[in-house]
């Protein structure tokens, strides 16, 4: 038999039927929804007069449009409140499990899926959110969809989708101290460019990837979309199985052993064909930071901003981008003062991220000029942070931990960065206005964010690790 990639195996396993010279009908094992991209889909069902086909395969959470303070009170903003209440009503009407505000299982959709055991190897997973690629860290096909497609899945548990091409990204070697999985993915995107993987589904592999925890792997897969890829996955291994085994709802299943046996076989065959391959060495990766307005515009933190001619962007877009950021070509940004720090999001809002931030700032103080938003990715992460005393460490250093949500990652709520201000952010997008109209976002790892938070300027975290 011809060797197959893991992606091919999973895809082929989920094809219900193929339309001649058209897309495949792909069966979806797990569907996640949230308040922002689902109301119009439910409305569509009502107009068609149909029910949700498999309500047990959809799970809902409120995350995008909620405050990160005083969650026990009613949401102040009327439109936001209405949207969250709509989700509640829709879930009740259509029989879908919903983890609303204050529910112990509430959190960012891509954080709760894995931690609650909904996300498993071998599945197909979709959600009306582009960072659904996060779940691929467990060895499954997970990708973001639009609202019409949310309606499709609610109505039929299937989606019409053309099969993407396959790309392999192999990261050999070992990371330097102070360099994290976030830096790996920012580095990859800077090499591939923000649209360079459009039409592809990525498999990440190699020693540096295998060495990562599940949290670290999720950070990598999460940002696959930022180079245009449909999604990214990592073959499951012992680290994956150990993580899954620590989730009571999974480990307690009587078929868990059978599942484990099946999951062990989930890998690409030797010699399987990829349409594109990229080989990188982890040892060359430095702490990364972005200087422009798309995630591909990143560089090593101690490097200089390139010239327009050397950028994969068109010159007009590149110049517009630097103008927006208030930077010049050739400039170094190390030491540049900053105003905000955001730790959180589905990219870096997990317990490991809070730990690395907290341990870094322990014994240090938040810089006076910095406003910091420390936002756990879920109720569970929040609870765990409290159990481990991270909230105290943060407090002693002058930081306040907020309540979970997407927060400043997309700034739909009040967690906005004001116009012209610089924010070092652990989220995934530095688009114009992403963190508020006129806000200037610099994407980086939790360690680099911590270094900026205590110095008030862009700082190489390696310089502070050594002393």
């Amino acid at each position: 038999m011809e060797p197959k990639t893991l992606f091919d195996k999973l895809w082929d396993n989920h094809v219900v039927s193929s339309i001649e010279s058209g897309p495949d009908v792909l069966y979806i094992d797990q569907h996640f929804i949230h308040e922002v991209t689902s109301p119009q889909a439910f409305e569509g069902l009502r107009q068609r007069g149909i029910r949700v086909f498999r309500p047990g395969k959809t799970v809902a959470t409120a995350d995008h449009n909620i405050p990160t303070r005083d969650q026990h009170l009613t949401i102040k903003d009327e439109l936001s409140r209405n949207q969250v209440e709509k989700l509640n009503d829709n879930c009740r009407e259509f029989g879908i499990d919903y983890f609303g505000l204050n529910h112990p299982k509430n959190g960012i959709v891509h954080v709760i899926g894995p931690e609650l055991g909904y996300t498993m190897p071998g599945m197909t997973i979709v959600c009306g959110d582009s960072h659904t690629s996060t779940h691929g860290a467990f060895g499954n096909i997970a990708f973001g969809i639009g609202t019409s497609e949310v309606e499709m899945v609610l109505a039929t548990q299937c989606i019409l989708q053309a099969k993407p091409k396959k790309m392999k990204i192999l990261v050999n070697g070992k990371l330097q101290e102070g360099v994290t999985s976030k830096d790996i993915i920012l580095y990859i995107i800077s090499q591939v460019s923000s649209g360079g993987a459009t039409g592809y589904f990525v498999e990440y592999c190699g020693q540096a990837i295998e060495a990562l925890s599940m949290e670290g792997r999720m950070t990598i897969c999460n940002m696959s979309i930022e180079m245009g890829a449909r999604g990214g996955l990592i073959a499951p291994d012992l680290i994956t199985f150990e993580y899954l085994n620590s989730i009571p709802s999974l480990a307690g299943r009587n078929d868990f052993k059978t599942l484990l046996l099946r999951w062990r076989n989930l890998k690409s065959d030797e010699g399987a064909h990829f349409d594109r391959e990229l080989i990188l060495n982890a040892g060359n990766i430095k702490p990364m930071i972005t200087f422009g307005t798309n995630p591909g515009m990143g560089m090593g933190i101690d490097e200089s901003i390139p010239d327009a001619d050397n950028s994969p962007e068109g010159a007009a877009s590149f110049t517009k981008s630097l103008n927006y950021m208030g930077f010049n070509p050739g400039e170094k940004i190390l030491g540049h003062p900053i105003d905000y720090v955001f730790l959180g999001s589905c990219t870096n809002g997990r317990i490991e991220d809070l730990r690395s931030f907290a341990y870094f700032v322990r014994g240090r103080k938040k810089a006076e000029n910095v406003i910091a938003l420390i936002v756990p990715g879920s109720k569970r992460v929040e609870q765990q942070a409290v159990d481990e005393g991270l909230d105290k460490i943060l407090k002693d250093s002058g930081f306040e931990m907020r309540q979970p949500g997407c927060s400043s990652c997309l700034a739909m709520n009040e967690d906005k960065v004001p116009a012209g201000k610089y924010a070092v952010s652990t989220s995934n997008r530095n688009f114009e206005g992403r963190q508020g109209p006129g806000a200037r976002t610099l994407l980086a790892s939790p360690l680099t964010a911590a270094a900026a938070a205590v110095t008030g300027k862009i700082t190489d975290p390696r310089d502070l690790l050594s002393n």
Partner: protein
Amino acid sequence: MPKQKFDILETTCVPLPLENIDTDQIIPARFLSATSREGFGENLFRDWRYNKEGQKNNDFVLNNAQYKGNILVAGKNFGCGSSREHAVWAIVDYGFQAVVSSFFADIFKNNSMNNRLLPVVVPEKFLKDMLELVTREPGTIVRIDLENQELKIPASGESVGFEINPYKKECLLKGLDDIDYLLNIKEMITGYEFRNTLKR
């Protein structure tokens, strides 16, 4: 639910010669709280169209009366970023029926076809020339013929073919809808489910 059919589009164009235009620019997050599909056009490219004080930014193409029409022409990697279908709703609500670029982000492309907004992919060189032409001569008519998969500029006689998935083309031409298609094969879906529970 049968929708409006797409056939031939003949109109002037609005040029937007920037690359990597993401859906946060097309419709910023703070306008996503609505729970219906209508009314997003008002805030299309909101932060480029209006300045901080809420006044129209005269440099922006949508505020320039010279440029009108139902085709938006934009730089490569159009629609990257967030999966928000609101971006497509905003473009459609504003009155565009097609977007021309040298490539589109995947989710955006799917979203646009699900809303009868035709994404037309043309070669990079053609796009560059086309952007220059329609910027220089705002009255330039462009004709998009879906049946024959051809984009033509009658004045210059230039034309270029474009790819579209045959199934999707059929849907657009006939006004068919993916959900209707899937609802019609529900038995097949249940069959798949049955086979897979057996396997498991």
